[in-house]
C-alpha cells in the first residue's frame, strides 16, 4: 500500500461512481490515468486487500430478519478441521475462532447465521450441531435485539 493506493481506498470506500466509466471518474478525481486505477485495483483484488467488488444487500430488506450469533465450545485439537467445515456452509457468513474467557465464556467458535426468522436460524444451528457431534460440549445462539450503532469501517483521508 502506497500513498496512491490509500487515496484510492478513500475515494472508493463509500462506493464506486455510478457513471458509465467509473474507473475513469476516479482517475479524474485523483489526477492519475484510468489504466493505473484499474491496475492498482486489480492488484489489491489479487492480494486480498479488496475482498470483492459488488453490491452489499441490506439483509433486512431481503427478509432476513433473524440474525443469530451461534457460539460453540469445540475441542481445541479439532478446531481447524471443524471450523473449515462450518465456515463452508452456505448459510454461515462469518466464522471465526476466538479466545475463551473461562469461567465466564467457554465458547471458542463463532458462526453467524442469518435466517428469515428465528426458527430458520435454530434449524440451521441444529445442522451445525450435527456436524460438530461429540467435539462440541455446549453451544448457544445469541440473537440481536437492537442495533446500537452501525457505521461502515472508514479509513482516514
Amino acid at each position: 500500500m502506497d500513498d496512491i493506493d490509500r487515496r484510492l481506498v478513500v475515494a472508493t470506500q463509500s462506493g464506486l461512481p455510478l457513471t458509465p466509466q467509473p474507473y475513469h471518474t476516479i482517475a479524474a478525481q485523483l489526477g492519475i490515468t484510468a489504466e493505473e486505477v484499474m491496475a492498482r485495483m486489480q492488484r489489491m483484488l489479487d492480494s486480498g486487500a479488496i475482498r470483492r467488488i459488488g453490491v452489499v444487500p441490506n439483509h433486512y430488506a431481503l427478509g432476513y430478519h433473524a440474525n443469530g450469533m451461534t457460539v460453540w465450545d469445540v475441542e481445541d485439537e479439532r478446531m481447524t478441521e471443524l471450523g473449515t467445515k462450518i465456515g463452508a456452509l452456505e448459510f454461515v457468513s462469518h466464522c471465526y475462532r476466538r479466545p475463551r474467557h473461562l469461567p465466564d465464556w467457554p465458547y471458542n467458535l463463532f458462526a453467524m447465521v442469518h435466517g428469515h426468522d428465528r426458527s430458520e436460524v435454530s434449524a440451521k444451528a441444529a445442522q451445525i450441531a450435527a456436524l460438530l457431534g461429540d467435539a462440541c460440549k455446549q453451544h448457544e445462539i445469541l440473537y440481536s435485539s437492537r442495533i446500537l450503532k452501525k457505521t461502515g469501517l472508514r479509513f482516514g483521508g
Partner: protein, 147 residues
Amino acid sequence: MENIDRAIINRLQGDFPICAQPYAAVAARLGLSEDELITRIKRMLHDKILTRFGPMFDAEKMGGAFSLAAMQIPAEDFERVAEIVNALPQVAHNYQREHRLNMWFVLATDTTQGINDAIACIEQASGYHVFNMPKLEEYFIGLHFKA
C-alpha cells in the same frame, strides 16, 4: 421486489469487473442496457435495498486491527454504557444481544495497541469489564444473500 432487481443482487455480490465500461459488461450478461443497470443500482441504494456498492476492503490487510468485544451490563445501566461505547470512533458496530453478555461491539483501529487503549477507555468510563475476543483464525467471510 422485481425479478430484474433480484437478478442484479444475486449476480453482483462478488465479481463486478475492472474494465473501462464495467456496467455495460454486466448489463450485457443480465440482458439489460448499461443505463438501466446504473439506474436500478442507484434506486436500490436510494431505497436502502442495497447498503453499499463498490469494493469491500480487508482493513486488516491494509494494516488495521480489529476485535470483537462483549460486556455484561445491568438493564438499568445499559443506555448509559451504550452511549459511552457508541461515542468512541473506534467502535464500528454495536449490537444488543439476548444473553448475560448483552452488549457486543466491533472495534477497528490502526494498531493492536489501539484496541487495548479503546478497551481500557471503555472500562474506565463505564466501570464494567470488557471481554476482548479477537479472531484467532478465520474460516470464511462473505455471505451470499439470496434475494
